[in-house]
Subunit: 375 residues, 2 copies
């Protein structure tokens, strides 16, 4: 096995598209941009390209670091690099910030071409199908006819799944990790509370807070705190925080007394400091809407009938946001179609967040699968 | 079996205490009041009294209705009445609003005797031990030396458990339903998000919103919406709401589109319209602090060693707020002490809320247990 090392310094790229893109919401963006990064080298046959799809709060900076920000590691740097499970000595890896994002791609923070002001809440709600469409346009420009693999966790896994349905001839392998074929009522309920926290923040200003020089940080903070509860497992929270008190904490008040409160506030404050509230709304709505079976009378197997990819589906034992049972729904629908599918249920204490972690078993499964991907 | 019927019209009572009560927070209330109701008749031996302890948002109106509000049924009316599982032909039942509540007992909405203004956030955080102490003072006045039973669900069940520890000679049976011996980190995390929603609502005004003529309804609404997610089971939400859309709903926006959103908003709005935000903070903190094992080095069995009551512990299969495993912790600690304990794990789709439901198996278990309570 080759030595594992970081891909090193990487560069954020941006591509401007001048052909309009028609979105599911019925709106067409006449011009639009995608922020992306690439790692490794596209081979002559253009057969070694791997697309990484991000989850709710992710972006295109997936691996390596920026020369002037050596500590700003990509969010999946533990997975992607020379000698790593997704080996950049072998694969040409593409990270992309989705349409509607807030990390460089066209989204609510971008200026509306008509007004010169940020789109804000007028930016259309974007769907997983829209993202696949936009990512395909990026593939066109990069000269990639078919991805060797499309890989994603959580909402990213949903995009990998949607690729195999919408553009079956353009994806040879789909790695669908910690995902679900659709949200449950409970999943939607959590998203709803998060959205309501943002929408009812007086500084949201109907999504046009930019022009007021404020940001709905209270709502965004609550949304992220709530999100974190669903990303972690009960067991892991118990082990990591339990009922531990802050040594300096007061008592009989409503300040931070328990370690878990301190953790949530830290995570919430950090996130609220940089993330865009309209993007958060949009990403959670995309999650709500994702339901490839819907147009097939609720039959996921029928929705996946035309897929031609081979699949690796991965779930984590303590993930209660998208439990292993949800991944098995995908596996069963694939098996009904006699599609090639490998399924791994990883024992991990890390809940939904496990898909981001450097777990030996998990990474070994991905490495083994990817070694067998022909390029 | 006698016919089951409503206890009929009932009256809300109020008792003023002029002997101070010293609270765990180190504050003493010189004068204080408890709102309560009673159903049935105290027998000559004063041996048939049952105390009902309420949960987070409950109160003293447990059964029957008010003559001028025939639709305002008590929250446990399905359980309590003539011929019902908790039979008022046999028992004298007492409902009480806890100290710190917002339904008539002294709490944050009450006027501070020194200022004549509402206590607001200056009202001390009250603990489960404080409630037991206050309820005991009510028992003194009513001439009840020992309760035939103390009964409660959720936070109410914690009070029943605490009674057996703090005043073992004054409770003969404890019915501890859908409870836990302490909150987990995840439980505290949900409470924290709910509190933060209230505390960061600009109309909270550091807990003194009364004097500003406003109420932090946005925060309270979010807190209640989140609470409801934890009260229901995933399965029940899936069955009741699933991914059903509102027929009149728009699409590609952030309004109410899914039925589950409509349900949560309705529940949130209703609650925010009447409940006091400071009471909500206080009740959730009482939940966080509840941990009878804490003063016994974390050993729940040691905490329960001095209890003399007999116990019925009830849990519900789909309750993920306080799962059956949490009830079994209580049962195991009781068994270690060779205390008499019956345990029932009820198969129910209703999650934590099941303790409020008219489930035949559940009510049969309570009825059977209570029939054997000597009076």
């Amino acid at each position: 096995m080759s030595e594992r090392s970081s891909i090193g310094p990487v560069e954020a790229l941006r591509l401007a598209f001048t052909e309009p893109i028609a979105l599911a919401a019925g709106v067409s963006l006449p011009t639009w941009e995608l922020a992306y990064e690439t790692y490794g080298t596209l081979n002559a046959a253009r057969s070694n390209a791997v697309l990484i799809c991000h989850a709710l709060s992710g972006h295109h900076h997936v691996a390596g670091y920026y020369a002037d920000e050596p500590k700003n590691l990509g969010w999946w740097d533990n997975l992607i690099g020379p000698g790593k499970p997704l080996d950049t000595n072998r694969f040409f890896v593409v990270g992309v910030n989705n349409l509607g994002g807030c990390h460089g791609s066209t989204g609510p923070c971008s200026n509306h071409p008509g007004t010169g002001q940020p789109w804000g809440a007028d930016f259309p709600v974007v769907t997983v199908n829209d993202w696949v469409k936009a990512q395909a346009r990026l593939a066109d420009v990069l000269g990639i006819d078919a991805w060797a693999a499309v890989v994603g966790g959580s909402l990213g896994g949903m995009q990998a799944l949607q690729w195999t349905i919408d553009l079956p001839e353009r994806v040879r392998h789909a790695l669908v990790i910690a995902a679900a074929p659709r949200l449950t009522a409970e999943n939607i309920a959590f998203n709803d509370v998060a959205r309501q926290a943002i929408l009812t923040d007086p500084e949201f200003h109907d999504g046009h807070f930019y022009r007021h020089g404020v940001r709905p940080t209270r709502g965004l903070r609550l949304a992220r705190m709530l999100g974190h509860i669903t990303y972690l497992s009960d067991d892991q929270m118990a082990e990591k925080f339990g009922r531990k008190r802050r040594p300096e904490a007061g008592h009989f008040g409503y300040g931070v007394e328990f370690e878990i409160e301190s953790y949530l506030h830290y995570q919430g404050d950090k996130f609220a400091g940089y993330f865009d509230a309209n993007t958060y709304l949009l990403m959670t709505r995309a999650l709500d809407y994702f339901d490839p079976a819907e147009t097939h009378g609720g039959d996921l197997a029928a929705a996946l009938a035309a897929a031609r990819a081979k699949f690796l589906v991965v779930a984590f034992s303590t993930d209660w946001r998208f439990s292993p049972a949800r991944s098995r729904e995908i596996v069963n629908a694939l098996l009904k179609n006699k599609h090639a599918v490998s399924y791994a249920e990883i024992t991990s204490p890390h809940g939904h967040d496990a898909f981001l972690m450097d777990d030996a078993h998990y990474h070994a499964v991905l490495a083994a699968y990817l070694r067998n991907v022909q390029i």
